[in-house]
């Protein structure tokens, strides 16, 4: 079944089923997705002039068809990406051939075999954080655990000194996402933060050129593509190499913090599932996968059609924005039984929590490692916990569903 996109809407009566820019939608996206999958699997939103795919198979096929669905107009659905797209190097927004060339310069740093080497370091990060709340009953498991972990891992990754700069880094991170709810526009504060963060990354790259290390920034600064150095003589905030480092950072902090926050929030609601983990810690990786599926952090990723394409009998013209709703695909009841239920014991199946295809998440092994080790240490060192207050949504791009407050009480 599909909607008739030819049918003219009467403006005054037009109430979009799926309008991701409204607080109403953001409060309950999943019932909207359910309706989209059932009634309008190829949905056209007249108000914002975009199409949306919501079924698992359709979303997956589009992710894999990187010749029809291009990224050059950005993957974010509001203007955050347009803002970033002014600069080169933003991997998620780059089509081939440049995408593969750029990605290849950092790919090896993110291979599972490279990431596995960070296991002990991540465990140490988790332990130090647990030390701080080891004797407390009430803990904000998002703000005090889930969020600091990717920051700490990233400080190490970037070789960032202790002190002031780390606080600035945290401010920039939140700053670049600053926006007013219900608006598609970024604030001036967001633009400034973005610029400052880029300046800092450019500085780090210049440092690595002088003092190379065995890390990803050094890989970027030393990279050559077809014999041409990726980084220019004078690396500034607008350089392609800086953009690449910026993209890695954007992909690595909020998303991982969000994944862990969701994981702990859901476990707090299901004591029997927590108990299962205590009984059998081998289930931990499955719990991580389930939280990725259940409330995918990057709920939607956008593309632009390079040619007309037919999906489920509906023609999408060339040059249209198409939103691929990963968060809906991962709740598709034709693929996942009892899809709306968080269930770490469900039969493992591939999900689209990290996308797939050309732009499939580069950092997925690191996100998986951090989440797995974080849960392992929590299970090993602390007891059962339950929700002790309302979780809070983080203010970020409307693409994402991230929590930044999850108050829990340990028993």
């Amino acid at each position: 079944m599909s909607i008739n996109i030819e049918k003219p809407y009467i403006e005054s009566e037009y109430a979009p089923i799926y309008d991701p820019f409204t607080p109403e939608f953001q409060a309950d996206p999943f019932s909207v997705y359910e309706r989209l999958r059932r009634e309008a699997p190829v949905y056209y939103n007249e108000k914002w002039n975009f199409y949306a795919l919501s079924r698992f198979d359709d979303v997956r096929a589009a992710l894999r068809d990187h010749e029809t669905y291009l990224n050059y107009q950005g993957v974010d659905i509001d203007d955050f990406e347009q803002e970033q797209s002014g600069y080169p190097g933003m991997l998620p927004n780059i089509d081939n051939p440049r995408h593969d060339q750029l990605r290849a310069t950092v790919q090896r740093s993110f291979m599972p075999r490279s990431i596995r080497a960070l296991t002990d370091e991540v465990r140490q990060v988790c332990d130090l954080l647990i030390d701080k709340f080891a004797d407390q009953k009430d803990v904000d498991i998002s703000a005090d655990y889930s969020w600091p972990i990717p920051f700490e891992v990233f400080y190490n990754f970037l070789g960032m000194p202790e002190g002031d700069i780390r606080e600035k880094f945290v401010r920039w991170t939140h700053g670049i996402k600053d926006r007013k709810i219900g608006s598609t526009e970024l604030t001036d504060f967001a633009r400034e933060s973005s610029r400052e963060l880029r300046e800092y990354l450019a500085y780090l790259l210049r440092e690595r050129r002088k003092n190379p290390r065995n890390d990803v920034l050094t890989a970027i600064v030393q990279a050559e593509i077809n014999g041409v150095p990726l980084a220019p003589e004078d690396i500034d905030y607008a350089a392609e190499a800086t953009g690449l480092a910026f993209a890695l950072y954007l992909g690595g902090v909020e998303t991982t913090a969000g994944t862990m926050s969701t994981l702990f929030e859901q476990l707090a609601r299901y004591p029997e599932q927590q108990q299962a983990l205590h009984n059998d810690p081998m289930l931990i990786p499955r719990a991580v996968e389930e939280s990725l599926r259940y409330r995918t952090i990057f709920q939607v990723t956008a593309r632009t059609t390079s040619r007309p394409v037919e999906v489920d009998g509906v023609q999408i013209p060339e040059g249209k924005r198409v939103f691929l709703i990963l968060g809906s695909a991962n709740r598709d009841e034709t693929v996942f039984e009892n899809a709306d239920q968080f269930d770490i014991l469900r039969t493992p199946k591939p999900h689209l929590g990290f996308g797939e295809g050309l732009h499939g998440c580069l950092g997925n092994p690191l996100a998986r490692l951090e989440s797995t080790v974080a849960l392992e240490q929590l299970v090993a060192r602390k007891g059962m916990f339950e929700l002790a207050g309302e979780p809070r949504r983080y203010i970020t791009t409307p693409n994402a569903y991230v929590l930044d407050r999850v108050p829990v009480a340990f028993k």
């Binding site: 081939n96 051939p97 790919q107 090896r108 291979m111 591939p350 797939e356």
Partner: protein, 331 residues
């Protein structure tokens, strides 16, 4: 004994290190026939391109790890640009399709070469037989032979008239050109075309495998040794149309599963309820790395180093296959 004088250019590896890469820009793109585009490439810095002779091809570096070879079909005396013809083959694993979808006037493109494994030898007379996109090297040869004033014939077969690139241009050369669209004229009558073996005539052919096999058979039986010169579609050799089925054994359960020729290990395992984490699906991200206990892997990823590949202790199951009938995976 085989009458083959020239083999395919499957052994290009040895040349690659000496060749420099050239940055070019697509300066013209022409839809030459159904599913065929002609792309004209000029050096990005406007300089002269390296000299070449008819039969030469270039490597086109489409994106990381994807290299395709295309014959040059322009005029060798014009060093300002190269022209290649590209068929959007239905069986393409993405190379040709990528060219069709993504390369437009103004697109930058890195190439290597040219190199020539299909050189035009000096002879009294020439018979050219081209199948489909195989016309591209032959077209460059015709021009040279014509300029040299040597007698020649061209037999050019294709699926339909509209699928045959350069047809009109060639037809204007007169009755030495014989066009054979399958849908109206049937297959080329090779027995007649090659019916008069002659010591002073050489046969040049480029086209799909069945055509080459048929020509080879006739020439082997009746033509003097060394008469036949042929070139297979490079894309075919490179794109590995000859995938075969093999078995994988899952060491942890002892299960054996057959991986069919047209499915990846990743897909096959998934269908059998064994889900391996994967992401890119094209051998570039390393997510689906799977330990290998026994067997020799046909590595097709572009993320492991040559050393890592040669250890044979792991594989990217989204693209890599097996060089032997059984692989034992630590799964």
């Amino acid at each position: 004994m085989s009458a083959l004088a020239t083999l395919t250019h499957s052994s290009t590896v040895t040349f690659e290190e000496e060749e420099r890469e050239i940055k070019t820009t697509v300066v013209a793109r022409l839809d030459a026939a159904t599913d065929v585009v002609l792309l004209t490439l000029a050096a990005a810095d406007g300089s002269e391109l390296p000299a070449w002779r008819p039969g030469a091809h270039i490597d086109v570096l489409l994106s990381n790890g994807i290299t395709r070879q295309y014959s040059l079909c322009s005029d060798p005396d014009d060093r300002s640009s190269y022209t290649i013809g590209v068929l959007n083959a239905p069986a393409s694993r993405g190379g040709s399709r990528y060219v069709h979808e993504s390369l437009h006037v103004g697109t930058s493109l890195t190439i290597r070469g040219p190199r020539n494994h299909f050189e035009l030898v000096d002879a009294q007379r020439y018979v050219f037989i081209a199948g489909g996109i195989g016309i591209t090297p032959i077209a460059a040869m015709l021009r040279e032979v014509e300029n040299a004033g040597k007698p020649w014939m061209l037999y050019y077969g294709g699926r339909t008239v509209s699928s045959m690139a350069l047809r009109e241009e060639l037809e204007s050369l007169g009755d030495r050109v014989s066009i054979w669209p399958e849908d109206t004229a049937g297959f080329m009558d090779l027995a007649t075309i090659l019916g008069s073996p002659d010591e002073d005539t050489v046969v040049y052919t480029c086209g799909p495998e069945p055509l080459l096999a048929a020509i080879e058979k006739i020439c082997d039986a009746r033509w003097p040794e060394g008469s036949l010169h042929y070139e297979r579609f490079a894309a075919k050799a490179i794109e590995g149309a000859t995938d075969t089925a093999f078995e994988v054994e899952l060491a942890k359960s002892g299960r054996r599963i057959t991986v069919p020729a047209d499915k990846s290990v990743l897909e096959t395992l998934g269908e059998n309820g064994v889900h391996i984490l994967s992401s890119c699906g094209e051998g570039t991200c390393g997510t689906c790395e799977t330990p290998v206990l026994e067997g020799e892997v046909d590595h097709r990823d572009s993320v492991l180093t040559k050393d890592e590949q040669s250890r044979n202790d792991c594989m990217m199951v989204c693209v890599s296959r097996s060089k032997c009938p059984l692989l034992v995976l630590d799964v």
